[in-house]
Amino acid sequence: MKKKESIKGQLRAVVLQILTEKKESYAYEIIRIVKEKTNSGILITEGALYPVLHKLEAEGILSSQIKNIGNRNRKYYFLTEKGKKESALHLESIREFIRHLNMLLNPDFKHIYNETYTRTN
């Protein structure tokens, strides 16, 4: 499967989700978190993550701060006020898309989803 291409498109959502949970983080940590959470199922490459972070920063969704950590400086990214609102919207639309994709890809899913949905409501 072309996993590499599918994750590249959704990297934005992954970064936003991690920064919503962690308040602030740096690039290497984001790569590590993704690797840990997916049991090495998804490995982000360096060349793919940095452009996404820089783009989000230029758009004003992220902001950054350079902090000294002992022997070197490290650049931490965090969500701005504008970014918090936009990331919530973006993540919600992605989740909805994945739900619909699931309905299309596994025929049982719609049945299960509807059942749980009606039960909880």
Binding site: Y28, T45, E46, G60, Q65, N71, R72, N73
Partner: protein
């Protein structure tokens, strides 16, 4: 396994040699390589520092840092265009433009009635040329002082028009680095 100060300096030189001129990007790349080297060396204590660095750098692919730098530059250029467009929109849709037209109207009507036409024109001309020149000189000396303190940032490199802030104010633009 923690890297020493000398090793960090070595990585800094390494990043500079690979055509990353900008301090903010250098910091990011150095931190990334250092993290990776520390991880490689804890997993495999026999490996030398140089080999670990080589292995960490190879993960960036054949283009090295060039691709990262290029894409960052594009992102910043795009945001600068947006700021400039915003300022232009603000300038032409605000009451300022009417104030400007009204002052020109006053000026011409004054010229029409006064008998010292030449003097008025020369006086106005002097004001228009001298005042901006004064601010330009002041601003450039301010920049020269500042240049010694602040290192090169990719943000500055990507600026399309390096005009004094008194001419076009990037009011919505905050310099993103608070702690240095």
């Amino acid at each position: 396994m923690k890297l020493t100060r000398e090793q960090i300096d070595y990585i800094f030189d390494f990043v500079k040699k690979h055509y990353v001129e900008w301090y903010d990007l250098q910091v990011e790349m150095v931190d990334h390589l250092a993290n990776d080297i520390e991880k490689i060396m804890t997993e495999n204590p026999k490996i030398s520092f140089e080999n670990a660095l080589d292995r960490a750098f190879r993960k960036f692919g054949p283009a090295g840092f060039m691709e990262v730098a290029e894409q960052k530059m594009n992102a910043i250029k795009k945001s600068y265009f947006k700021y400039i467009f915003q300022e232009f929109k603000y300038l032409f849709l605000s009451p300022k433009i009417f104030l400007f037209l009204f002052s020109w109207y006053l000026f011409y009507s004054f010229l029409f009635h006064t008998s010292y036409k030449l003097y008025t024109i020369v006086f106005i001309y002097l004001i228009i040329t001298v005042i901006p020149f004064y601010f330009l000189v002041k601003y450039s000396s301010y920049l020269r002082k500042k240049k010694k303190i602040i290192k090169k940032y990719i943000w500055r490199k990507a600026a399309l028009f390096k005009l004094p802030q008194s001419y076009i104010s990037f009011s919505s633009f905050n310099f993103p680095y608070k702690a240095l």
